[in-house]
Structures are given as C-alpha cells and as structure tokens.
C-alpha cells in the first residue's frame, strides 16, 4: 500500500497532473456556481477532452476535479440566490440563504468553503486508508435498508415543523411525495398521473422544481418588496468573512461527524451526495440543543456546515464503489466509469494491482484539488458576495435568466419553462400563506427512491416481512423514529422541569 501511495504521489505531483487538477476544479467550481448547471452535463461534455489526453490518470484527475469542484461551487448559488443547481446543495440553501438574507453572505460562503474543504479532505483520507476494505461496506445495503435510509432522510423535515407549523410541513412533504409519483417509475411500465401529457411522462425534473420552489419565488418577492433586497445592510458587512472563535467551536464537531457520516453514505451506491446532505442536516438538527434547534432553517451555522460537509464527503465516498467494484452509484459516476473504460482502465478489485498509479494518484489529487478550491474560493468570497449588492434592477433579471436557463439547458425542452413558471407562481402563493417549501422538495427528491426501494423489498420478501427479517432495516427505522421523537421528548422534559420549578418555588 505504501508503495502504491508513493507511486500515486509521484504521478499526482507531476506538472501535467497538477495542471489537470487545477484546471478541473476551476472549471467545476465555476460551472457549479451557476444555478441549474450540475456536474453531470459538464462532465459529459468534457469526456472527449479527457479521452484525447490519453493518460488515464490525468483524465480521471481532471474529471474527478470537475466533479467535486462542481459540488464545492454549487453552494454559492444556493446561498446567494436560493437557487440550488444540484440536488446535493438543496440542503445548503435551507440555512445558507437565510444567513445571506441577514447580511451574513460572506460568513455563509466562508463556512460553506471551509466545510466543503474539510469534508472533501477527510473524505480523501478515509478513501486512502479504507478504500480496499470498504468495497464490502458498499454492498452491505439491500433495497430494504435503502428504504429505511430514505425514511431517516425524511426526518429532516422536522426542521421545518416549527411552532404551529407541523401540519403545514407534513402537508408540503406529502405534496412532494405525491409529485414524485408523476411519470413512469422504475417499477411500472405505464405512465402515472401524466394527464396524457407527453412532457410529464418522465416526471417532473428536479432542476425545474428546485428553481420553481426556491429561486423564482425569491425573485418575485424581490419585485414585490422593494425593501427586501436591502435587508443585507451595507455592502461592507456582507463581504465580512470572519468567523468568531465561538462559531468555529460550534461547527467543528458538526464537520467532524458529517465528514464521517457523509463519506459512508456516499460509499453506498444507492445513496449519494443528496441523501448524505439531507441526513446530515436531519441528524445535526435533531441532536442539537433546543435553543440551537430553533435556529435551523432560519440561518443556523450548524445547519449550513452539516450538509456542505456531508455532500463533499459523500462525493469523495462515491469513488469507493466506482474504483473498487466498477459500479457507478450515480449518473455522474456512471459517466466517469464510461471514460475509464474508454481509456482501457477497468475499475474493479484489480485496479489497485493493475493500475496502482491511476488509483492512488486520483486519491492524492483530491487533497491538492480541495486545497486549490479553498485557496481559490476564500479570496474570491468578498467579490462573489457582492452579487447581493447589485442594484435590484439588475439582480432580478440576472436571477430570472439563470433560473430559466437552468431549467431549459440539458433537456432543451421548452415545456419545462412553462412548468417552471406555473409552479413558481404556485410556490409564491404558498409562501404568502407561510407554507414551508423545503419539505416539498425533500419529499420529491426522496419520494421516488423511497417508493422504488419499498416496492422492490415487498417483491423480494413477498410482503412487509423484510422489516423484521432484516435487523439493519429495523435499526435504521428505529433511528428515524428516535430522530423525530428525541426533540419532542426533550421539549416535554423541559416543560415538565419548568413547571416543576414553578410549582416548587
């Protein structure tokens, strides 16, 4: 192994490969910053470039750099414009955007950058030490466990069920779950709830829905409340990067936990960065003390650090099944796999033996890449944050342009724009009525996977028996229950104690 690391080190530190990793993360982070553009389309476009390089190590270093660079940069549009471009950064907007609204855009971007860096780097360390052993972990989960994992993910909606909001949050989650059933599922041969419209046959697209729920209502609110854009205060404050010692102390354990948790969820081929970010958010929210819990969804630094750490760690973790088993867990890693095969490298258990320089140099390039991303992003934050100081006459068209472009590009289907605008207006009305929109998106993203895995397990076990037959499923479901009940129990205890004190004295 040490020998392999040394080979990897010398390969990764060659001038070409350092240029590759810098080029890759640069492209990735800038594309990722644009709302609506995810890593998948940009990697697909870059495949011919990577293949023409010819050297598999260099090609994979470049493409991997684009991948985690895009996840790194994806937080920017979530935080500043409430326009997540990738499913993995939806959770970042939950607390990142309220922070930016409160005039702390610079701080939010800094926390996101540091969390991403830590998640990516700790992920790379774990990848280096444990990758060979982790291939069996990747195969530990069956459909039943994936189903239970999605249930744990759904417990994230508890964060949006504040006082008097419980019914509304549940209602919006259900709406999201219902919307996930539109179109042809993986399990049925027939389109459902498409109302005969061909454009709904593949279901709603995630990007369109994310833009309609988050970015478009935001732009409309800016139009309707002329003062809203100025809540950011003067531009001197929004560019402030400083994190206080107390804040650093608060997020350090979050980062440590989520790097580990995110990485292991990323290792599972059926989960990935999105699930990791929701789970990270749910877990951190539900184990936080009561007074901090109320902050979640309103601009909590923990609520921002958790998904940002987890999604980057998961992105690194997803290289475990790709490199050690040759199994792609997501669309993006499937494209990476195609590129590797085209370069005559077969990922799988023999990769470490046959092509040690490819295996180790990619992992080592991840340290360099994450460092480059941090060094690159930190000095740029004051300038990027200034986007919010742009006069609203320019800012609103800018948001609208990217929102519409994000929904259109990649699919080239003009009907998406109609769906986007229609849903966006509906979402704005819901926001007026004070319905939280994040649970809808969580329900939508998890809904399809929840249903597919549930139905598969039902089929495999001829009924619901899998819940008792598989201890791990039971365990995960128990964790989900605990995550939901723990906060209520604590609140109950606090009430009892408060009453006790009042009664006693």
């Amino acid at each position: 192994m040490l020998e392999g690391i040394l080979i990897g080190l010398s390969t990764a530190l060659s001038l070409t490969n350092i240029l590759m990793v810098i080029g890759g993360v640069l492209i990735g982070t800038f594309i990722g910053m644009l709302p609506g553009l995810g890593p998948m389309s940009i990697i697909a476009i870059m495949i011919p470039v990577a293949i023409s390089i010819g050297d598999p190590s260099a090609a994979l270093i470049l493409l991997a750099g684009v991948y985690y660079g895009a996840i790194f940069g994806g937080s920017t549009s979530s935080i500043l414009l409430n326009a997540p471009g990738v499913a993995g950064t939806v959770a970042t907007a939950f607390d990142g955007y309220p922070m930016a609204r409160a005039g702390k855009a610079g701080k939010a971007l800094t926390i996101a950058a540091i969390s991403s860096f830590a998640g990516g780097t700790i992920g790379a360390i774990l990848l280096m030490i444990f990758a060979p052993m982790l291939s069996s972990v990747a195969l530990l989960f069956h459909s039943a466990e994936y189903f239970a994992l999605m249930v744990v993910g759904l417990s994230a909606i508890a964060a949006f069920a504040g006082t008097g909001q419980v019914a509304k949050a549940i209602l919006m989650t259900l709406l999201g779950l219902i919307m996930a059933t539109v179109g042809e599922g993986a399990l049925y041969n027939l389109p459902r709830f498409t109302m005969g419209l061909m454009d709904l046959q593949s279901g709603f697209s995630f990007i369109t829905l994310a833009m309609a729920m988050f970015a478009l209502p935001e732009a409309l609110f800016l139009v309707m409340h002329p003062m809203r854009v100025n809540t950011g205060g003067n531009s001197g404050k929004i560019t402030d990067l400083r994190i206080t010692r107390a804040e650093a102390k608060a997020i350090a354990p979050v980062i440590a936990r989520q790097s580990l948790q995110g990485f292991f969820i990323g290792v599972l081929p059926g989960a990935g960065a999105t699930i990791a970010s929701f789970l990270g958010y749910a877990v951190e929210r539900n184990i936080a003390p009561k007074h901090e819990q109320d902050e979640f969804g309103k601009g909590s630094i923990k609520g921002l650090a958790a998904p940002e750490t987890a999604n980057n760690a998961a992105c690194t973790g997803s290289f475990v099944p790709l490199l050690t088993l040759g199994i792609p867990g997501s669309g993006t890693t499937a494209i990476l796999l195609g590129a590797l095969i085209a370069l005559n490298v077969s990922p799988g258990p023999r990769l470490m033996i046959d092509n040690p320089q490819v295996f180790w140099s990619v992992i080592i390039s991840m340290y360099i890449g994450n460092l480059v991303l941090l060094v690159l992003n930190l000095p740029l934050i004051p300038y990027i944050a200034k986007i919010l100081a742009i006069p609203r006459t320019f800012l609103i068209p800018f948001i609208l342009f990217f929102t519409l472009m994000g929904a259109y590009i990649g699919q080239n289907n003009a009907t998406e724009l109609l769906i986007l605008v229609g849903m966006g207006v509906a979402a704005t009305v819901l926001r007026f009525a004070d319905y939280p929109l994040a649970p809808l998106l969580i329900g939508f993203i998890l809904g399809r996977m929840l249903e597919d895995n549930f139905a598969r397990s039902m089929q495999l076990y001829d009924g619901i028996g899998f819940v008792v037959e598989r201890p791990m499923t039971m365990g995960l479901l128990a964790i989900a229950l605990l995550l939901v009940l723990l906060p209520s129990y604590r609140a109950y205890r606090a009430r009892v104690r408060a009453r006790g004190v009042a009664d006693g004295d």
């Binding site: 998948m40 389309s41 990697i43 697909a44 476009i45 011919p48 293949i51 990747a138 195969l139 530990l140 989960f141 069956h142 459909s143 042809e184 599922g185 993986a186 399990l187 049925y188 041969n189 027939l190 389109p191 061909m198 454009d199 046959q201 593949s202 081929p269 059926g270 099944p321 088993l325 040759g326 199994i327 792609p328 867990g329 669309g331 890693t333 499937a334 494209i335 796999l337 195609g338 095969i341 085209a342 077969s346 990922p347 799988g348 258990p349 023999r350 990649g410 699919q411 080239n412 289907n413 009907t415 597919d452 598969r456 089929q459 495999l460 001829d462």
Partner: protein, 328 residues
C-alpha cells in the same frame, strides 16, 4: 465472421474510391453530405446522446460529412422527438434521429402513439447483446443451473435488471425462460432504475441473477467479480470468449439491443441513399473505429430493407412474448 466484415469493408473502400473518381462534383476527397442535424430524443450524457455524438464525430472527422449539429429533445421518454419528426417532416429532411430497441417496445405498449413504420428507416448501426450474469460466489455456473434453481424455488430465484417490468431486461429474462421451456410468467423480476444499481444488487446478493447488456458485464467478468452464464448472440463474442451463448446451452434465442438512425417520413430517395452511403462508408474509417472502441460498441449494421426486416422480426418476437406475459 471477422474476415467477412473485412472483405465487405475492403469492397466498400473500393466502391467509395470508384465513386469518388466518377463523381468529381463532390467537394473534398470523399464527402457525401454537406451536413447532418442529429436529433437526440433524450438529455445530454445518455446512451442515445453518446451514439449520435460519436457517429457525428466519426462522420465529420473522416470527411464523409461536412458538418454535424446536435439537438437534445427530451420528453415522453423519447416520444416527443418522434412526434416532432413526424409532424414537421418536410422541414426535417436534413435531420437524423437516433433511437434503439425501446422504440419497438414502447410502440407495442402504446406509450408512443407512433411506431417505426411512421418514420423513414435509415440504418441500424451498432448494438449490444444481452447476457445473464451471476455473482462470482454463486453456486450457479451455467443456464442449466439457473433453470434448476428457478424450478426448485421460483420465488427465491429473483432475476434483476435495469429496466421496468416489460422493459428490455425483463423481456430477455422471460425470453430465456420461455425458450428453455419454463413458464416465463412466474419469473420474479426485480427492476432497478439503472444498470449500475442492478449490478450492485447482484453483488450484494439481493438478487440471484441479473439480466443486463453484455458490454456492461464484460469488465466485471474480466475482473472476476461476476460470471456471465449466457449471451444472446449467435456465436461467442470476441470481447469475452469464455462466455457461452444461450444457443450452445440449448436455449434457442438470439437478441440484439440495437441502436440506429431514422429520418422524417417522406424523405426523398436520393437523400436517403446519401445518408445510407455516408453510414456505410463510415465503418471503414479509422475515425469510426476509434469512436467504436472507445465506447465498446459492436458493429451491427442493417441498412434500409434489412433494417425493416430486422425490426419487424424483433417486433414480432417481443410482441408475442409481451402478450404471453400479459403486458399487451
């Protein structure tokens, strides 16, 4: 087999040379068409996208076609693009649409209101065989073992695949069981939303066997992670000679998941001939060989009437099977 192809290629090069001598009007050395517009019925990064862009790359780099443009039109699982070609036929004579086996399946189920007869058939270009795969530690070593396991415990012998029930991977599994004389209706088929996830389920032991594309399984078979117990080709495939064909094991089926190109209905005959000629000549170029090898595609070339015969044959086989399975 290979020799035959080479012979045909040599003949094609000769023909191409003669033609270009006799037709000096063509610009460049052997340009057949000025431009082709490729319509891709799905988003960027999918199989259709790769096929169209790869073909366009080979055609332009080899100089057979002056320029190529690409348009992604997703919607309706590909149905939107087919409708667009038919409704705007006259303005789409410069367009080639890429498609594959699902056009046959989806037309049969009525998901598409059209079928391939509503379009002009240009040519099937590449394909992939289907394969049955089991994990490396599985006690199953060949189709006979799988069928025996299925007979003794149909409920415990789940076969997975990367397509919906009634989709390609399911149909192949059912076709195999049917040809082996078993009741295809009882096959416990577990669908996954992508081939990679189905493969993970096989390795984790959730399913007993996997019905998948041959090329998707070859790399893992080479790595010793899985065993390919049957291929739906007529003869063993060069890419992995160890894999037995279904026919060798007494299961008389052959199945090709093809990809090819269609044009708008009412396409003028000379235009069609030019498209077919450009694609014919493409196979002999090193540029195509590079694209093909990079993607691991198998050349399966059916042009014009051969393509029609092939599609009608496939439609009949799949249609009969789907009726039997209750999907129609």
């Amino acid at each position: 087999m290979t020799k035959l192809t080479l012979g045909r290629r040599a003949l094609m090069i000769a023909t191409a040379a003669t033609l270009s001598l006799g037709a000096p009007a063509f610009a460049g050395s052997h340009q057949v068409l000025d431009s082709i517009h490729f319509l891709i019925p799905g988003g960027a990064g999918g199989g259709w996208d790769g096929t169209a862009r790869g073909t366009g790359e080979a055609l332009t780099k080899s100089g057979l076609v002056g320029s190529a443009s690409f348009e992604n039109m997703s919607g309706g699982g590909g149905g939107k693009a087919i409708g667009y070609m038919i409704e705007n036929a006259e303005s789409q004579y410069g367009t080639l649409m890429v498609n594959s086996t699902p056009i046959v399946i989806r037309s049969l189920t009525g998901v598409f209101p059209y079928n391939f007869r509503d379009l002009t058939l240009v040519s099937g270009t590449i394909g992939d065989y289907a394969a049955m795969v089991v994990g490396k530690d599985s006690p199953i070593n060949n189709m006979a073992d799988l069928i025996a396991a299925y007979e003794s415990d149909p409920g415990g012998t789940a076969i997975g695949g990367g397509s919906v029930p009634g989709g390609m991977d399911h149909l192949v599994a059912a076709m195999v069981m049917e040809a082996a004389g078993k009741d295809a209706l009882n096959v416990k088929y577990i669908p996954y939303d992508a081939g990679g996830k189905a493969m993970a389920a096989l390795l984790s032991g959730e399913i007993a066997a996997l019905s998948t594309g041959f090329s998707e399984a070859v790399d893992l078979a080479n790595a010793g992670e899985v065993k390919i117990i049957g291929v739906t080709s007529d003869e063993r495939v060069d890419a992995f000679k160890d894999a037995q064909t279904m026919k060798e094991q007494g299961i008389d089926i052959a199945f090709v998941n093809w990809r090819g190109f269609f044009a708008a209905p009412g396409l003028p005959a000379d235009r069609l001939a030019a498209y077919q000629k450009a694609i014919d000549m493409m196979y002999a170029t090193p540029e195509w060989e590079e694209v093909r090898a990079r993607n691991g595609w198998v050349n399966i070339h059916n042009s014009g009437d051969d393509f029609r015969t092939f599609l009608e044959g496939q439609e009949k086989v799949i249609g009969d099977l789907m009726k039997k399975l209750g999907f129609l």
